[in-house]
């Protein structure tokens, strides 16, 4: 069993009960198959997020059904909805409380860009306060679109240099937020 995306080579006839691989591959394999989402449901998109969690679309097929409302127990924040400036403070605080490694999915037009709310009250994209890994288009996105995003996130997790990040966590973890470029 060896594909382009896995660096795992295993043949039961040759290796028996021993699997030889790289630390990165093992760590990423574990991480990507047990993403614990933090449902940051802020507006209508959250309804689609709930649909993704329910039986028809069933996010548990990808090992992500353990939605946790505590940031300490979650590693993937799904920002689904309109982020007002008043709420942005809370979103950032919750993000900061999540333990590393952590990922962010911006679900829908609002979370990605402010959507149709071009107004004084709405943060124009959650990437201005937290680093986003995957953006999902749509208003709201279909549940399949979110599942697609989560699969893309799994691919992305699979490509991370986890061992290097473990030994030098800060340098890699600090992805600049959008607003940082403006200052």
């Amino acid at each position: 069993m060896s594909t382009e995306s896995t660096t795992l080579g295993y043949n039961s006839k040759v290796e028996g009960e021993v699997v030889v691989t790289q630390a990165d591959a093992v760590i990423n394999w574990i991480r990507k198959h047990s993403v614990w989402p933090m449902p940051m449901g802020l507006a209508c998109c959250a309804i689609e997020l709930m649909a993704v969690g329910a039986s028809r679309f069933d996010i548990s097929r990808f090992g992500m059904e353990v939605m946790r409302f505590s940031p300490r127990q979650a590693d993937c924040m799904i920002v689904s909805g309109t982020v007002t400036y008043k709420m942005a403070e809370v979103v950032r605080r919750i993000y900061e409380q999540m333990a590393e490694p952590k990922w962010v999915v911006a679900m829908g037009a609002c979370a990605s860009t402010g959507g149709m709310y071009r107004s004084y009250a709405t943060l124009q994209g959650v990437d201005r306060i937290i680093p986003v890994d995957v953006y999902v288009s749509g208003c709201p996105p279909r549940p399949e679109a979110l599942l697609d995003a989560m699969i893309k996130l799994q691919d992305k997790i699979g490509r991370e240099s986890s061992v290097k990040n473990l030994t030098a966590p800060k340098a890699v973890a600090e992805k600049p937020a959008f607003a940082g470029k403006e200052a």
Binding site: K86, A88, E89, E96, R118, S119, Y120, R128, I129, A179
Partner: protein, 203 residues
Amino acid sequence: MSQADFASLKERFAYLTERDSADHLSVNCPAKHLLEFCTSLRDELGYDLLLDVTAIDWDVQTSPRFTGIYHILSTTHHNYIRIASDCLEDAQPSLPSLAGIFPAANWHERETYDMMGIRYEGHPDLKRILMWEDYPYHPLRKEFPLAGIEVPFPAADVAESANAKVLPAPMMGGPFVSPSGGTMREIEPQAKDESWTEKEEQH
């Protein structure tokens, strides 16, 4: 006293004047009589349910600039009355608070204060309800741009760690508004074509 039409109200409350209205009974009431008038409406005329408190900003140059609007329903007679009350001051508009006689006024008045900056005298806890508490503007005033004005982020520590500011929103051809009046085609939402208000374009 049974359900009021304007003539019978005027007889009783000489300070009222009639307002043009497309639907319900609508009166102008001077701010200094507002509390007394609403108390009588509630206790004697059966107008017992306050449905809405809002305000109009006529324009920056107009005086009186702000008018408070109240909608009250009678749950026994099933009809509405609309009361309009001009704020005396244009720079620091204020009105008496109805929170003492209609508890429903509490949050409505906080919202109107937040959006329009009208101070409700006698309100038990007049603070912002939609925007965060140290927000410096009242966004529904006529001179406030839809895109917003640059101000510091709500929390200083988060502002520092996220390096974020509250910035005017890019209008990108908008805002999109429906002109009032005209044929169906003319009142379609249209782009008012304000230019890109953001300094640095997003890549």
